[in-house]
């Protein structure tokens, strides 16, 4: 009977194209608006590294101003750490894997004279970065801790930079000039676009990853500039780059990989002991406030999904409800217009449940058509958002298969819900009254 009902549904939809189009359009508008905002929220709140997001922890220690909390509302410790903590905590090597990092930038001068020098974003990091965050490699690999300790001038390029400077060929073993220094290329990343860019949400949670990766401590060696957010609660003591590094200014991020609750507890103990030692040295004037957050907790803590995006999503759901209420009215009109046919079907043997299924399938078909048109509208909506906000959201405005299926499911469920009352009314039409009056 399902195919029969399907055939009847499409005949009914074709029979009254204007009414059907209005219903499809109403659902499409609601779905289009909802899917546009859901997609943005979904990509903002997606788990960027689901396979190990519960083992990776962002490290926070409270080295802030004794008189003012870094975050007055939540009393959370600062969202970055100082150079001193980055150096000390990394050197301690207390976690099974750990990475400290910062954002910087410099000029790349390609050997090929036809390619002009250009500015590139640098991720200063330590060797565990690549294995901790499961970065895919096209050629070569990352570096070992010895390269960090020895401040070796090694570099990992992204595919984009390798394509630009070396035409996409295997450049491992070659050298590249960056920030006036020569670096030996040891690896080229394949396309890697974590959304959000979880490892550093302080500096553009939805930006693309930096273009090259070099050992963290080269920042000090080459006095590489600070890029990204830097916050200080007191001025550096003294002048110059080294004084700035020794200051209480925060510009660095740290992640550790901890594979069990025991490891996590041990690391917290280690942090507490470290802070106690620092307090004895006259630093860390605030109460002990150390924190480890796994990836999703850190995304939540940093409000990667912004409140206005959430509000937009709920408003679009309200709009969908308004569209569905319109659809209820239109379906009611359509089914009441079919009263004589419904009466006849009842008279010649259809039960109420037969008619219920028939009309719910018709509602679902209208919903699916609305869903398909809605997905087109959502695609246009996302393009519109991209053109309005530009590069800031370009990684958030693509409709993937999950969202397309979600859109169709929402359309299907919504239309079935919208069809319940009109269908119930249709099933309760008295056949006798319709047969005589036709």
């Amino acid at each position: 009977m399902f195919s029969y009902y399907l055939k009847l549904a499409f005949k009914s939809i074709r029979k009254n194209p204007l009414l059907s189009s209005l219903m499809v359009l109403a659902i499409a508008l609601g779905i289009g608006a909802s899917i546009t905002t859901i997609t943005v929220n979904y990509l903002m709140s997606a788990n960027p590294i689901p396979e190990k997001s519960e083992q990776l922890f962002y490290v926070q220690v409270d080295s802030w101003d004794p008189h003012n909390s870094f975050n007055e509302e939540s009393n959370d410790p600062p969202n970055q750490i100082t150079w001193t903590e980055a150096t000390n905590l990394f050197t301690a090597q207390k976690a099974s894997k750990q990475v400290v990092m910062a954002k910087s930038g410099g000029i790349i001068v390609p050997e090929d004279q036809d390619i002009n020098p250009f500015e590139a974003q640098i991720r200063l990091t330590t060797g565990d970065f690549f294995t901790m965050f499961n970065t895919p490699f096209l050629y070569g690999s990352g570096w070992q801790i010895t390269s960090d300790q020895n401040r070796e001038q090694v570099i990992v390029l992204t595919k984009k930079i390798n394509d630009k400077v070396f035409g996409g060929e295997n450049s491992v073993g070659k050298s590249i000039s960056l920030a006036g220094q020569h670096f030996k290329i040891i690896g080229v990343l394949d396309t890697w676009l974590p959304v959000p860019k979880f490892y550093d949400v302080n500096n553009g949670a939805f930006d693309e990853p930096e273009e090259v990766f070099i050992p963290f401590f080269l920042k000090e060696s080459f006095e590489l500039p600070n890029w990204g957010n830097t916050n200080c609660w007191k001025s550096p003591e003294g002048e110059g780059f080294k004084a700035f590094l020794r200051s209480e200014c925060i510009n660095y991020q740290m992640w550790v990989e901890l594979n069990s609750d025991t490891e996590k507890a041990e690391y917290i103990d280690f942090l507490n002991n470290y802070v106690s030692e620092q307090k004895a040295l006259g630093r860390f004037p605030r109460p002990m406030n150390n924190k480890l957050s796994d990836v999703m907790q850190w995304m939540e803590n940093q409000q990667v999904v912004q409140d206005d995006a959430k509000m937009m999503m709920w408003m679009s759901f309200m709009f969908l409800i308004v569209c569905l209420l319109n659809t209820v009215g239109l379906l009611l009109a359509k089914f009441i217009g079919k009263s004589s046919e419904i009466g006849l079907r009842r008279a010649i043997g259809a039960s109420k449940s037969d008619l219920f299924v028939q009309h719910i399938i018709e509602s679902a078909c209208i919903g699916l058509l609305g869903g398909l048109v809605g997905l087109l509208l959502a695609t246009l909506g996302l393009k519109g958002i991209e053109s309005l906000y530009g590069d800031f959201v370009k990684n958030l405005v693509s409709l993937d298969v999950t969202m397309a299926i979600t859109g169709l499911l929402i359309a299907l469920i919504s239309s079935v819900l919208a069809g319940l009352y009109p269908t119930w009314r249709a099933c309760n039409i008295s056949p006798a009254s319709q047969l005589k009056s036709q």
Binding site: M1, A347, I348, G349, A350, S351, A432, K436
Partner: protein, 232 residues
């Protein structure tokens, strides 16, 4: 086959209470062709609707094929209608966007027959009414008489034991009406019991028995043609 005893039907609104049937008593035997006549508002159509289980009633008993149908639920009534009763209406009640084949197919779908059986029955019944060559036509492409023949084919396709016709010739001219009447008589001769509501005394006289309904009650019963003669 059909026995109504003291059946009552009252239509109520906030202001008015209308007694459509009052102690309605009637027995129709298997193979009969009963014509029900009476003035407008006498309760003929209400009787037919109750007989076809399209409406419930407020009192009395109704037995169809020896089974009391008063307490059947909606699904049971639908199944019984589908299996035992065929309907023919004054205004044909064909579904305009379905072709003749699909119109006749409707009751068979609800009966759960497979495609092969349905096709066979549809072709047979359209053959009986003389429209087998127009299966793909839409109702609007046929005359009134032809449309009523399609409605008869639809009623026959399920091979019902009982055919209820509500003024089946009411919208037809006399020639067409007589042709439809001949078709009904042939169907009756093949063993199907028919109850027909009509205003036309000439058509009523062609049935085996006439029932005159007045004020919601059977007021007169007249055997027009003895059954054994009619079916000879």
């Amino acid at each position: 086959m059909l026995t109504m005893t003291n059946v009552k039907k009252v239509f109520r609104t906030d202001l008015v209470e209308t007694h459509a049937l009052r102690d309605f008593n009637l027995q129709v035997d298997e193979g009969e062709f009963v014509a029900v006549t009476g003035p407008s508002g006498s309760g003929k159509t209400t009787f037919l609707n109750i007989a076809g289980m399209l409406e419930t009633f407020n009192g009395g008993t109704y037995q169809l094929d020896g089974k009391d149908v008063s307490h059947l639920n909606d699904n049971q009534r639908s199944r019984l209608r589908n299996e035992k009763i065929g309907f023919i209406f004054q205004s044909y009640n064909l579904i305009p966007d379905l072709n003749l084949f699909d119109n006749v197919d409707v009751p068979l779908r609800y009966r759960g027959f497979d495609a092969k059986t349905r096709k066979q029955r549809i072709e047979e019944s359209l053959e009986i009414v003389g429209l087998a060559n127009r299966m793909k036509h839409l109702p609007a492409q046929l005359s009134g008489g032809q449309q009523q023949r399609v409605a008869i084919a639809r009623a026959l396709a399920g091979k019902p034991r009982f055919l209820l016709a509500d003024e089946p010739t009411g919208n037809l001219d006399s020639e067409m009406a007589q042709s439809v009447m001949e078709l009904l008589k042939n169907i009756n001769k093949s063993g199907t019991t028919i109850v027909m509501v009509t205003h036309d005394p000439l058509l009523a006289k062609q049935a085996t028995r006439n029932i005159f309904v007045k004020d919601g009650q059977v007021s007169e019963i007249e055997d027009v043609i003895p059954m054994h003669v009619a079916n000879a």
